[in-house]
């Protein structure tokens, strides 16, 4: 088993064992969606689809920040991060494993969000909802890549929990724009091909941020 797989497997095992990350992410998504329904009081039809798409992505951003913070700070107990840094584990492989874990947690939370979105915004479980999936997955991957890198920084600073949202949100804007547009189009019944440009933006975003994280993680992973 490669070290990357060992770390990922360990994180997933810990999660199954009673880590509460996926539950917490799901709960946060639920709450965010509830707040947004009350805030925007959406009608049905076109306007409803746009509001639903937007709400889904707001939930993604908030739960993503929580997910990345947890994936990184899971190593803080008993100094395990130090043990990982001292081991022969390649820093980039550590990043990849943390990214994969965050992505999986986010993916599960997104699935829950999509279901809740359909319920709250009076939509139907049909092909339109399925066409959401590529954009949401790409967005989750991009956000996980971004947030895992930033969470490594914020976890090392006193009072650093402000740093993660402060930097993650503006950096995520391109994917947010593309994701919401693609999702709104999908919910309005447009075929996937029509959102091609938005999906391309998401792919480009993902490639850049995964690569950046992979290369730069070693510079944020050490100690003082």
């Amino acid at each position: 088993m490669s070290p990357f797989s060992a770390v990922l497997r360990k994180d997933l095992l810990l999660e199954v064992r009673g880590g509460q990350s996926t539950v917490a992410l799901g709960a946060l998504s639920l709450l965010v969606l509830v707040v947004l329904v009350f805030a925007f009081n959406p009608g049905g039809g076109e306007q409803g689809a746009e509001a639903a798409a937007g709400a889904l992505w707001v939930a993604l951003v908030f739960s993503g920040m929580l997910g990345a913070t947890r994936a990184v700070s899971a190593e803080n107990e008993n100094g395990c991060m130090r043990a990982l840094l001292m081991s022969p584990l390649d820093r980039a492989a550590l990043y990849a494993a943390k990214l994969a874990a965050a992505f999986i947690f986010m993916g599960i939370a997104e699935a829950a969000s999509i279901i809740l979105m359909v319920l709250f915004f009076n939509l139907e479980f049909d092909a339109r909802v399925m066409r959401l999936v590529p954009a949401v997955l790409l967005g989750a991957l991009g956000f996980a890549a971004l947030a895992t890198l930033l969470a490594a920084i914020s976890s090392r600073l006193r009072g650093g929990d402000l740093v993660l949202p402060l930097l993650a949100v503006p950096m995520f804007v391109p994917a947010l724009i593309a994701g919401v547009k693609a999702s709104a189009a999908a919910l309005a019944g447009a075929p996937l091909a029509g959102s091609a440009v938005w999906l391309k933006v998401l792919v480009a975003f993902d490639v850049m941020f995964v690569a950046a994280g992979y290369l730069l993680f070693e510079y944020v992973a050490g100690e003082e």
Binding site: L150, I153, L157, L166, M171, V173, V201, F209, L216
Partner: protein, 236 residues
């Protein structure tokens, strides 16, 4: 040529260019047909934007060199560029807002360029907040470098996506062919001079800030040596 002499020279050059630019913007260039006097703010708004983006690139490049070479001078340069760039970025947003109100009736428009500049401003702000939180440490410099690099590679995607999101930046000026809209050659000249003036101003401010940070770094090194010497003296 002493450092102080260079800085003074830069300051004088910047000052002179700025005076020329001010003259050109307020006296020389003709009033634009559609937007009236307010349009003159364009000659401040655009150069500030140019400077803000260039400065951002500088932060990233300095970050790359810092991570690669490990020399504090690169971090000092990057931090100075971030602080100076932030000033000009704020000016872009302020001038944009002042410009928008009389022309489009709102204090803020989500057109593609202003939106992108807002994102840039937030990224600068995040960087500065991070540096403030991390304090005067090697760790802070490293984190800053990483954030600067990641933010800089983000900016092109922001530009593309925001432009796709919004239709056109409202045409700068009424034009016949839809170019950048500066018909009168005097307008082009004024813009170029203003650009030069703001660039000179930026370089001058950057140098001032950079030199201050270098002195700070040297002071830290001296303090450390002093502490070591004191501790050694106490041993005997």
């Amino acid at each position: 040529m002493s450092g102080r002499g260079v800085r003074l020279g830069l300051g004088l050059v910047a000052g002179a260019l700025m005076l020329v630019a001010l003259y050109m913007v307020f006296v020389y260039v003709p009033t634009e047909a559609d937007q009236g006097i307010v349009q003159r703010i364009f000659y401040f708004h655009v150069p500030c934007a140019w400077v803000a983006f260039v400065s951002f690139a500088l932060v990233a490049i300095a970050g790359i060199f810092y991570l690669w070479l490990g020399q504090q001078v690169w971090d000092d340069l990057g931090y100075a560029a971030a602080e100076t760039g932030m000033v000009f970025c704020t000016l872009v947003l302020v001038t944009g807002s002042i410009w928008a109100k009389p022309i489009w009736g709102a204090w803020w428009t989500w057109d593609s360029r202003l939106t992108t500049t807002l994102i840039l401003w937030l990224l600068y702000g995040g960087y500065l907040m991070l540096r403030a939180m991390a304090g005067d440490s090697e760790q802070g410099a490293r984190f800053g470098a990483v954030v600067g690099i990641v933010a800089a590679i983000d900016v092109p995607i922001v530009i593309v996506s925001v432009r796709l999101w919004r239709t056109i930046h409202p045409a700068v000026l009424v034009t016949r062919q839809g170019g950048h809209g500066l018909e009168d050659p005097r307008m082009v000249a004024t813009l170029l001079v203003s650009l030069a003036a703001f660039t000179a101003l930026f370089i001058w401010l950057l140098c001032l800030r950079f030199v201050t940070l270098r002195m700070h770094t040297r002071l830290n090194a001296l303090t450390r040596s002093l502490a070591l010497a004191e501790a050694a003296a106490q041993d005997t």
